[in-house]
Subunit: 581 residues, 2 copies
């Protein structure tokens, strides 16, 4: 495979010319400026290119295994993780209260993009650890925090989230794991969990599981679920963590992809744990983890698409086949053929549009966390809530489709493992499923997020798009782009209104199509902003204008079809009897 090229120049363009990074940081009183941000991204990109990318292909072939009841990760993973922790990368966006550097979330998100582009299986280790840290920081007692938080933040230890059971996935009301008080403030946690990413490994250090289970007096359903901190190694009373807890890896899931990632079946056999947060309030604590995770998962789709794009472009330049359009030259690089260009442009239009939208959303998250004004914080928080399912599901759907397109550029070679393109496809597929399937995300958008603030949050967001489009229309080169996005926005507004107060059949029938419309319009908004900012004759600006045009001319028309499908209503979906399927 080709070397990975971190997209630093695109980050620079977005931060300085589109997203107004320095002003945004100034408003938050943050010291991070453009130069520092780019320096961090460059260094992070180097780590991804030099350390993570080279071990990715072999990681897929070898996979994680179980040796003597413990997980053995593929060659190079343990060393890479130690490098990662020693380089301070685990602390990047963590709060200084717990040993973090407190850098803006946008840097974390784009670092995650590069990790996903080069080694998704690896990226899940620090990703889940961050989720665990956030849940502990937000909900655990000070005593628990004092013991468990700092080694997780500084990368000595890692975290895992143990939610799913074989009969309880999307519907956690059905979960059965139990926790009984031991009398000393601790609990004995018992149950079997499946699909536990990073459940065990050979990186050294402790592994801190956050486990959902029911207390003896728990009410049934989701209101009877509590969250427990259950570590692989317990304190030995002498300052060490050497006492093996009664938990074990039952098996590794045999998966379609992310083979290097040890996805565990975990057995907890009266394992010692401590309650995190209030009894029966585990779901709320769990959602603290899940929301940040969902943005990260969306970025996984984006990252893989970007990584696959680079490989496909390199191949399309090198591969000679067929003749030039005028028939005069041959064989020519297949990048000259219109259909190959179309495939590459589809991937690129998503990657760059998605990257911009992810950056904008990340800056809102920074505002939500640290803007001095409470009203601004609340507004930003609501926008992040609105966009979280869009980023999670929209980006992972486009990410998977992009990986498939990039693979197609390779023809038969794309199907052969050594080229690495089919691994992108297999790895990308999981992101549409985990952390809440994309169907569940779409229901979240339509069922919960559209009604935030009585509908004012979504309306405010769409108004903001409209006003940016009006500004972009003033730029001659961006006018075409902005006009197309404006038409699509109008369709989105109409459908949004039509879903207001609709019954559950109607919202359920519309949800996935609606989320895709929303994603396309939101990316179109970013393309209009990028086109408006790309005013010079530089290669970068010329390319931005060309890809913006491709996006609105060739991809955005999907919005009309989706709106038409939704307008047809739910009857076509409810008509067939259950037993006639």
């Amino acid at each position: 495979m080709q070397a990975y090229l971190p997209p630093i120049e695109d980050y620079r363009f977005l931060l300085s010319e589109v997203l107004g990074f320095d002003d945004a940081m100034g408003e938050l009183g943050q010291e991070t400026d453009l130069d520092l941000a780019l320096a961090v991204l460059e260094e992070a990109g180097r780590f991804c290119a030099d350390v993570l990318h080279p071990i990715n292909r072999e990681g897929d072939e070898q996979g994680s295994r179980i040796v003597d009841g413990e997980v053995r990760t593929p060659p190079g993973f343990a060393a890479a993780y130690r490098d990662f922790a020693e380089g301070g990368w685990t602390t990047l966006s963590a709060s200084p209260d717990h040993g973090g550097q407190g850098l803006p979330f946008i840097l974390q998100l784009w670092f995650d993009e590069m990790m996903s582009a080069t080694n998704l299986s690896f990226g899940l280790f620090p990703g889940l650890t961050r989720g665990a840290c956030e849940a502990i920081a937000a909900h655990a007692s000070d005593d628990l925090k004092a013991i468990w938080l700092e080694p997780l933040v500084n990368g000595q230890w890692t975290g895992a989230m143990a939610l799913t059971e074989s009969g309880a996935g999307t519907d956690l009301a059905l979960l059965k794991a139990k926790a009984a008080p031991k009398g000393d403030g601790a609990y004995a946690v018992t149950g079997t969990k499946i699909f536990i990413s990073s459940g065990d490994h050979d990186f050294g250090g402790n592994i801190v599981h956050l486990v959902l289970a029911r207390l003896p007096d728990a009410p049934p359903g989701v209101k009877g679920i509590s969250l427990f901190l259950v570590p692989k190694f317990l304190p030995d009373g002498e300052g060490g963590f050497t006492v093996r807890n009664t938990m074990s890896v039952g098996a590794l899931e045999k998966k379609m992809g992310i083979h290097a990632q040890p996805t565990c079946v975990m057995n907890y056999d009266e394992a010692t744990g401590w309650l995190v947060g209030e009894p029966h309030r585990g779901l709320a604590a769990m959602f603290t983890m899940m929301n940040a995770e969902r943005l990260m998962v969306g970025i996984q789709g984006l990252g893989i698409a970007g990584g696959a794009y680079q490989q496909a472009v390199a191949y399309a330049r090198e591969r000679l086949q067929g003749r030039s359009a005028d028939g005069a030259r041959g064989p020519v690089s297949i990048i000259e053929h219109a259909d190959v260009r179309r495939m590459l442009l589809q991937v690129r239009a998503f990657v760059e549009g998605g990257r911009a939208l992810a950056g904008w959303t990340a800056l809102q998250l920074d505002r939500a966390r640290s803007h001095p004004d409470a009203a601004e914080r609340a507004q930003a928080d609501a926008l992040v809530a609105l966009l979280t399912p869009v980023v999670k599901a929209g980006f992972t759907d486009f990410g998977f489709e992009s990986a498939v397109q990039a693979q197609q550029v390779f023809g038969g070679h794309g199907y052969i493992r050594e080229w690495g393109m089919e691994q992108f496809v297999r790895d990308a597929r999981i992101a549409q499923i985990y952390e809440g399937t994309n169907g569940v995300q779409a229901m979240d958008l339509v069922g919960r997020k559209l009604t935030l603030g009585g509908g004012s949050v979504v309306t405010g967001f769409l108004d903001r798009i409209e006003s940016d489009l009006a500004a972009a229309q003033a730029q001659p080169d961006a006018a075409h782009v902005a006009q197309r996005v404006q038409s699509a926005l109008q369709r989105l507004r109409e459908v949004t209104v039509s879903l207001h107060g609709a019954d559950i059949h109607a919202t359920g029938s519309a949800a996935v199509d609606y989320l895709r419309m929303f994603t396309l319009v939101s990316m179109g908004w970013m393309w209009a902003r990028m086109a408006a900012a790309a005013t010079t004759g530089s290669e970068q600006h010329s390319a931005k204008r060309a890809v913006a045009r491709f996006f609105v001319d060739r991809m955005l028309p999907q919005v009309d079809a989706l709106a038409t499908a939704i307008a047809a209503g739910s009857e076509a979906i409810t008509a067939l009897a259950d037993d006639a399927f």
Copy 2:
């Protein structure tokens, strides 16, 4: 996994109520009637369900391997192939001139659907053998036919097509394999071929490769390629085939899917072979194989979608999660949830629409082969030529998307190998690539097929659709469906006209989108015909009407978006400089 249920009742509906099978056969003077056809399909379905389905999952896990230089197929494959041949299944649609049963092609195609639904890796063995038989029957000398044809038709031996080289895939002009005359009428063939399906196996019997290579005096490019018959075992002069030819398996390709299928790198080292057809005319002979193969490959997409659908429906019935729409019951089968129904309906609408269109196309192929009137034969032949890229690319794109949707119904379990859903996805992916990538198919449709008969072939086809839609509108229940398809047909006509005489940038930019429009409208035509035929209150007829409505309401609107994208022209695709990608 659930048992496989052959779709016999749908075949019955199509043959007797939609496609007018008995009349069609009568017109061709064929003796096969509905009862015989269904008896054959039932028996074939039983073979797929009882023999091929049970070995498919393990075949994926074990894969084919090389042992002592020869291929070892996974457990059960060799025995299944002997059963298959002894059952007479290799002879089904083959000409009685060479020991075949001469049954209509539609039965072969639907048998292939069921084989693909249950075991795509297996289905490639007889599929490629049929292709080899057709090329030999059409182009080889009588001497060659006398020796090689019958054991291939009766399943004693198998065939393989050796076209691709590492530097020559889509563009065969670049191929380098050589053939030198040995003076005794035979040739010494030398070269390395890649991606050779069924290149070797352990089923017993001979393996007959059809190899593209250049003669010493060959002109450059595609006009200098000849076709050679190169068997694994040569005649020993005593009536046996025991002399090992100088050809060998260099390696097995490590692939994304179809692991049980031995896809070989083949080395020919002055291997003895015989010229098939005229010198330098190998490409024409090769296309005899490729055209029938391409219809078969389209059916692979359909078959996998149908197999995946059955599994997803069974899972959606059994899996309990969430509450009923009114909130009163829970947990309920997830088949009650609108978004799950949407996913299932998308798959089903393709499977049944595609099955009907495949059946119609197969009947045209039967007309092309055996109608008593030459003009009718020519017309049918042109229709098959028009629809071949549509079936190959359209069905394999929808097939892959359908496998992904069916996998999504399983949530996290869909990503785990043992459930078999991710194998459907990995296996389905190859069909978009081999036998000419789907991009190449789309260029074939736009570049060659639209101009057949000066454009009269496509116009005649679209007129035929229009007249069937007019008839369907007379049926009250079918009127809505027919009207929607009529609108889509109008868009397709407009785009078809716009592509007439367009330059290669425009056709290349439009091709893939145009092929998808064509596929959707053609399937819509079949849905209108099915809806018009489904006039009773039977469960089957009610379901047909419901799925027809889903197709036109929720899937057909894509046609508008595709037309809009094409109308935007090629500028968005040509604008970006090659080195700015």
